[in-house]
Assembly symmetry: C2
Homo-oligomer: 433 residues x 2
């Protein structure tokens, strides 16, 4: 199937400089594939595209059909890696106003995310919206004890029982959690909820191809087979030797740029519905590499929108940044620019062109301008955005992140720094030991 290409010709990096890193990239590959790198207990995602079980996927599809038949909306309760992957996919591949579309214009039910913050206003507001809808719940938490989803699930468990009665409420609750242990597994056994397992060897930010991501994605009507197929081709393409592997090249280039003082990577997209793909990417790289006093700061912009806010700084500000653009050649929908009789805005010279043509020229002009401003520019080209390309792109980033983290000298699979604030918070909340 289709290729993703990487253009790093505008990064001010010579072939020799890349070449000098090749042996290290091969070492990082071995650390990952042979399992002697740090965090190797959490590399289940690596071969997952091949190992994913057909029966598991069929069970997920079946549950999605049940949810779509019984519900107007699915409420997804999860935080961090337990919601960013599915949200990224659902938004990237759907209508920009998906939840507001009439049912006959949507492929799936409405999808709402909660349990990813502690905003009482947000939760209360969501309740207003759900008032006259039939809903199902997918609560996603490995331990079942993470604060935000636990608080939300307390609220929604009561809500479902009050709305549907204890027995019928239970049938609308789908739990994605640890296969054997934890609060949610125990409760699911007691209550008889439908459950899906989160494997032990896959961390949250690498979990989009498990039930964590796949169930909400399926309920939104996306094509799981295409998505998995993209992951599979990613596994094949991005396991090659480094000379023929754009995924490893991306990892090398960003490490070279970091060592030159480019401390901020800006992920650039030209479609507003890729915002959550950027958020997923930020978690992936930020949580994997931001440790031991090191790590590129992952940021994102949506162009051309943010050319009118951060464009000035990128062009002329401190030269501590580089950009990585996800360039999608063919848009989901296009529109033609029409001729105006009086040409008041002076744009008649574009009449007959499409809006996406103009978007492409904005992209080309921006890369040229920012490169002239000494901002290294990487470009990831996709011929279009669909389930296949999205799956392949996500695997590209997952694997690039692992290799990049090893090259940086960190364990890309742990997150020791997230405990400190939790310790303080629970102390302030007076949790008993």
């Amino acid at each position: 199937m289709g290729k993703i290409t990487l253009d790093y010709s505008r990064t001010f990096i010579s072939d020799e400089e890349i070449e000098s890193l090749v042996p290290f990239a091969r070492t990082a590959h071995d650390m990952l594939h042979k399992g002697y790198g740090a965090g190797s207990d959490f590399t289940g995602w690596l071969q997952l595209p091949q190992k994913i079980r057909k029966e598991e996927v069929e069970r997920i599809k079946k549950a999605a059909v049940d949810i779509k038949e019984s519900s107007d909306a699915l409420v997804v309760i999860g935080v961090g890696g337990s919601y960013l992957g599915s949200r990224a996919c659902i938004e990237a591949l759907n209508h920009n106003f998906y939840n507001q579309l009439p049912i006959d214009k949507r492929r799936g039910t409405e999808i709402y995310f909660v349990g990813n913050n502690l905003s009482s206003s947000y939760i209360s507001d969501l309740m207003d919206i759900l008032e006259n809808k039939d809903i199902s719940i997918n609560v996603i938490s490995k331990s079942g004890a993470t604060l935000e989803p636990a608080v939300a699930f307390r609220i929604f468990k009561n809500y479902m029982e009050a709305k549907y009665g204890k027995d019928n409420g239970k049938k609308r609750i789908y739990v994605t959690t640890d296969e054997h242990k934890g609060a949610l597994r125990k409760l699911s056994q007691e209550e008889g909820y439908a459950t899906f397992a989160i494997p032990d060897d896959i961390g949250g930010r690498y979990s989009v191809l498990t039930a964590v991501g796949l169930l909400p994605i399926a309920v939104a009507g996306l094509d799981l087979d295409g998505f998995i197929s993209g992951f599979r081709d990613g596994l094949e393409d991005y396991s090659r030797d480094v000379q023929d592997n754009i995924c490893y090249k991306y990892a090398m280039v960003r490490n070279i740029l970091y060592s030159r003082g480019k401390e901020i990577e800006i992920l650039v997209t030209y479609e507003p519905n890729l915002k959550y793909l950027a958020e997923w990417w930020k978690q992936l790289f930020g949580e994997s590499e931001g440790k031991d006093g090191k790590g590129i700061y992952p940021s994102s912009v949506n162009f051309t929108t943010d050319l009118h806010s951060l464009g000035q700084l990128i062009q002329d500000g401190k030269r501590n940044i580089f950009e990585t653009t996800i360039n999608i050649i063919k848009p989901r929908r296009d529109l033609e620019i029409q001729r105006l009789a009086d040409d008041i805005d002076g744009l008649n010279f574009m009449a007959g062109k499409t809006v996406n043509y103009v978007n492409q020229k904005a992209f080309e002009g921006t890369v040229k301008a920012h490169t002239k401003g000494q901002v290294p520019n990487l470009i990831i080209n996709l011929s279009e955005m669909n389930e296949y390309y999205l799956g392949k792109l996500m695997y590209f980033f997952e694997k690039a992140c692992a290799i990049s983290g090893y090259l940086l000298g960190v364990n890309p699979f742990n997150q020791p720094g997230v405990e400190e604030y939790k310790k303080n918070m629970y102390q302030l909340l007076g949790r008993p030991n």
Copy 2:
């Protein structure tokens, strides 16, 4: 009225260090107030809270009433400073699912933003949503020639004429543009559109208190008088001498941190509907300071959500960051955490507390943790978020940005770097000279 407070006790900056900058802050104050600083042609926003004309505000309110009576939705066409301010306010003060609420639960019409990108999918998708709604248009562009709003306005001008007929379509178009010149002014005169003026001495990112921001804000049902009153009190409070002026202290602290190598400022909020306030802030500071090879990189996170994605990096990554938290004591709505019979998640110790109480403890625990991780933390405290406090906060940031820019040695009011990509783009598009 109410105060906004600034806590910079966790920034690792001594009183002596602040003191050493005081004479420079006084100089920056004079440059701004006496008009001898760079860019002084664009400081109309400085005294605007006092100078804003009552008749202008009444005209805006009247137009808002007309739009609300005739329309289900207002479509706001604008990019950069022509939409970020109003969008920030509308989202910060409204229901999280504002556009989806039934009409009787909203204070204003639905509001949609377009003309801020070149995404053909986004524009086409928006058209789907508007299909069965009566709409009005507010097109906002000083020159009338900015590409994104011009492309969108071409589409919507035709759409309105086709839907309502030429004469009735015109009555639903509101233009906010240059007072005397430019393509949109000329067209408005020809077509008889209702118009509002953008003053010559106020740049886009400083324009929220002009018709640019106020008309959409009023259509969303927000209280313009409270908003203006917050700006007025801001003007009074933040014109004081630096010793008694938290706005200038914020400007000084961020310059000290920048000179210590803290090159990234993360604006932290704990409410998801403050996302666009952060986007507005990013444009304000990024476009004002990011030039001449200098400037703090403005970024933002929404906690506790992003504690589960960027929290690791903030705690343990490269120490080139500092955080500024907007802390809102009282939420718009609150919820109580209920006791669960079986306490499966171990959270019964919090039963009877509110979700916002937990959010506050998360904030306190996070500041403590990140400070321990050597990340300087600034805290801006607001007792609640309403029109008044939002207005005051926006003036706080506007003025802090001007002072901060002068301290950094840049012209905070120009944006020379945004021309380069446009030049390339128009060349690629084949625009005649």
